[in-house]
Symmetry: C2
Subunit: 297 residues, 2 copies
């Protein structure tokens, strides 16, 4: 089995968007440039959602324009609709990401649209992206549970992931948005989706709300997934559990992968140093245990 | 496969012995009594090592005498030698634990004795325990790495575990003392030991220094282990990486097990409340992500 795992670093977007402490534009640019230097191949740079929703990322255009685009590295940006797509394109984005939930109730609460309406909204984006030579990644959130409806049927996850793939997303990131999943459930979910969408087009995205993320990732790696989303310093949080842990920390994921004999192309000490630097900017302890251990030992 | 997992709660001993903040004897007793009420079946209460080495546990006799011994719950105590065994017996302990490393260098540095010398020292303890009707648990530390010698050969882990079992220890706890292990290494180690010692006589003991503990535990559960050591609130730390994370948090382990459809007999909200209470006594945040999520949500 292929032992290269691509880490999709989502800290600058998914991580920061849930951090209260506002970060200066220059620091965001420095963060991404430092991440580029670690050997990461995919770094989600920012989000072109409305600044009303995500004040932390109101400087999306400046950040994207300011970063050094390292050859061989992708810098996807999140776009909620065609307007966001146009803003992303205007600053030169060559990869975007769209998102919908597997939970109808979650999607309605967060985007004022049902899942089918969201998917329809993405159709013109995917059509334009196809013409513009822009790659599109698709996020499916709440794949292992929803703060409103609780259980999310596997069939709903499979349906949404399959639709996004059929619409032209080159990769589908399956997100346990509220971090409630455990290994056997994660495996069952991944198996169900992989029965319809090729494993090579799937990524896993775990939040560490209950500390389960790495265990879930290890199980999904055993099933064959080779793309893992993570955020340096474990930034983010859970808007549904204030004060809870955020995204799984990239440093801890890379430590595990290297320990398993897998390769990532990432320089772990450089990544950990970047995470610790970011935690300082956020005025809090790093959320990465590996980051802590490598600093203090 | 049997789906009951016994948690051996090691917080009052392994957790607290690495916490700088001294805890009042009455609080230790309250901690253990609260843990007893959660449904845990094994709670390591304290250690009869010299107070010179572990000032936090200088009140071992008072703590053991003060706790309410709930019927059906074991309260093992750590003993380093015959003198410790006698002190434990004097206060009515019916289960003790002995410990040695798999790494020769670690054992020499920490106990001024080679592994074989440590094992010889345990022989009279095991003989007396056998006569006294006292059960003995054996700890093997540094099973996945040593801060001094680095790699620890599997053969050394197997040799020490096999010896302890042959000497009469009813259970051997395999400890990744410095938390450097990752899932595939943990699996290989457990498989190697289980080829010589029955799986039913094995426990796993992971520290979360690099955030790998739950992933390792999940892998070992897949291999068939059904006893897991953990510390409420993730107390402890790593003397070889100051400021690093401690034992895997019991709350996170129980959350995972229940999510996997396994049973523990433990009331998770009561356990999390106990962990959060303990963290307050220690004047720091809980080390359990589940504890955090359950408090704040």
């Amino acid at each position: 089995m292929n032992d290269f795992v691509r880490i999709v670093e989502v800290g600058p977007r998914d991580g920061l968007q849930n951090e209260k402490q506002l970060i200066a534009t220059a620091d965001k640019i420095e963060l991404i440039d430092r991440l580029s230097a670690t050997g990461l191949r995919s770094i989600e740079a920012t989000s072109f959602v409305s600044p009303k929703w995500v004040p932390q990322l109101a400087d999306a255009a400046e950040v994207f324009a300011g970063i050094h685009k390292k050859p061989g590295v992708s810098y996807p940006v999140l776009v909620p609709n065609e307007q966001g797509y146009e803003r992303a394109l205007a600053v030169g984005a060559t990869e975007v990401a769209v998102f919908t939930a597997a939970s109808e109730q979650f999607n309605r609460t967060n985007t004022n649209a049902g899942i089918d309406e969201s998917l329809q909204r993405f159709e013109p984006i995917l059509a334009r992206a196809n013409r513009d030579g822009v790659r599109v990644r698709g996020y499916v959130s709440t794949v292992l549970g929803c703060p409103y409806q609780g259980e999310v049927p596997l069939a709903d996850v499979v349906r949404v992931a399959t639709r996004l793939h059929a619409m032209g997303c080159y990769e589908i990131s399956l997100g346990d948005t509220i971090g409630v999943g455990t290994p056997h459930k994660a495996r069952a979910m991944l198996q169900a989706v992989a029965a319809e969408v090729p494993m090579a087009a799937l990524a896993v995205h775990f939040h560490d709300t209950y500390g389960q993320a790495l265990a879930n990732i290890a199980t999904c790696l055993d099933e064959g997934v080779r793309v893992v989303d993570a955020a340096v310093a474990g930034t983010g949080g859970c808007p549904y559990a204030r004060g809870a842990s955020g995204n799984v920390a990239s440093e801890d994921v890379v430590y595990m992968l290297h320990g398993m004999g897998m390769s990532t192309g990432v320089d772990l000490p450089a990544l950990a140093a970047t995470g610790n630097w970011l935690a300082e900017r956020l005025g809090r302890q790093t959320g990465s245990k590996t980051g802590k251990a490598l600093t203090v030992s």
